[in-house]
Amino acid sequence: MTERDDAVSRRYRELPAEEPPRALDEAILAASRRAHAATRRPAEARPAPLVAPAGRQRWYVPLAAAAVIVLAVGLTLRVQLENPADNNVARVEEMPAKALKDQARIVEEDASRRKLEGEAREKARQDVLTAKEPARERSQSGPAPFPAEQGARAAAVATAPAAPAPQADTRMAESMMQRAPAASAPEAPVVAAAAPPPPPAARPAPAPLASEMRAPGRSDDALGRDRAERQVASASAGATAKRLQEADETPEKALERIAELRKAGKHDEADKALAEFRKRLPDYKIPEATRERVERPLAR
């Protein structure tokens, strides 16, 4: 630059030295500080670890996380494995209902079997009566019945109690089944102890329940409860079978049976059976010919 250029520069410097206002200075400097703080904040905001991980320590967190995961999975599996046990408990709690169902089935089977036996006895008795009828007609004094006949009659008497209708038995079983879930397990042995054991001749020992055979893992309590309930049911099975047999009798058969009793001279039993018959079938009109045979003859 030349000397004249320096003169221009000097003159220019003589012009007022304009400066930005102070407020503008502060605004710009504040903006600089804000930008500076915003830049540093992410790094400063990151909290320093309490213990700087080094060496083995750096594996602590991953190992802890893995241990938590393993424990969680283990607990989950354990819970899932324990669920079947819970199901077993639920099954055990349901057992009274199942046992009662089985008992009902057994009772029905027993009744059927009894019925068949009764029919067989009746047939045998009829055969015997048919064979002995001429002899009996010859002896008007009424000799003692034939032993076989006597046994058959005894069996018939034994199987003819004053029993309710078979529907009543079914209803009883159903009501027992309904009450079964509410029944607590410890009550079963008490019931079993209170119930008299069934006579061996009256009823054979019940076969093991299919549900019992299918569940080898069942607890002793459950098995004991089942046995007790079976005993309870079997105790009433004999009487029930008799009632069922009677209920299955047609009116004609019942009247025939009463006539047989009457003919055998067992008038008290015949009266009782006739009363039961009339009670059971009050509107049944007994034929005249049959009535003469079943009703007590008038004393002469």
């Binding site: 250029d5 003169a7 221009v8 003159r11 400097l29």
Partner: protein, 179 residues
């Protein structure tokens, strides 16, 4: 010994907030006058001045000392002022066109400065300069730039920058010669 502007800017880039304060203190006056005498409107010059410094702040992370800090700073200022002129539908006279003085323009330093003396005439002569010449002169006076640095800051070649500066000085000298 004061730290160089480039060192301060690097320090500011690395997080030294105080470095910016020092840079601002050093260059606020010259830059403000450059802007004020370029746009010749105080409110607008303050707005542009603030925007220029905000751009400096925003661009700090990308700053590389490839040139003088002053050149970098005034390049930002030049671009901002050009944007302003474009927004207003005006345009800086191209450097090549500006090299040649207008043949029949109304610019007549003798008429402008006639009857006036001293500094006032000089100020009027400065205001009467074409924007590109005035810019080159202001960069030379306020930023202390050489012709090469003016060329770099304004994006012109050195010859054009040299001519712009020469014409500006010549006109101003003429105004002074009337004193």
């Amino acid at each position: 010994m004061e730290a160089a502007d480039e060192q301060l800017m690097l320090s500011y880039r690395e997080g030294g907030a105080a470095a910016f304060d020092e840079l601002y203190r050093r260059h606020k006056g010259g830059l403000f006058r450059f802007v004020l005498r370029s746009v010749r409107e105080r409110a607008l010059s303050e707005e542009l001045f603030q925007e220029i410094w905000m751009r400096v702040i925003e661009a700090r992370e990308h700053y590389e000392p490839q040139a003088k800090f002053t050149t970098w700073l005034y390049t930002i200022a030049h671009n901002r002022i050009v944007d302003h002129w474009r927004k207003k539908g005006l345009q800086l006279v191209s450097l090549d066109d500006a090299v040649d003085p207008p043949a029949s323009s109304s610019f007549d330093p003798e008429k402008i400065l006639q009857g006036k003396q001293g500094l006032a005439r000089f100020a009027r002569a400065l205001e009467a300069l074409p924007p590109a010449q005035r810019e080159a002169f202001l960069l030379h006076e306020e930023a202390g730039m050489s012709v090469a640095e003016i060329a770099r800051a304004t994006g012109a070649n050195e010859e054009a920058a040299k001519s712009l500066l020469r014409y500006a000085l010549s006109k101003l000298k003429e105004a002074m010669g009337d004193d």
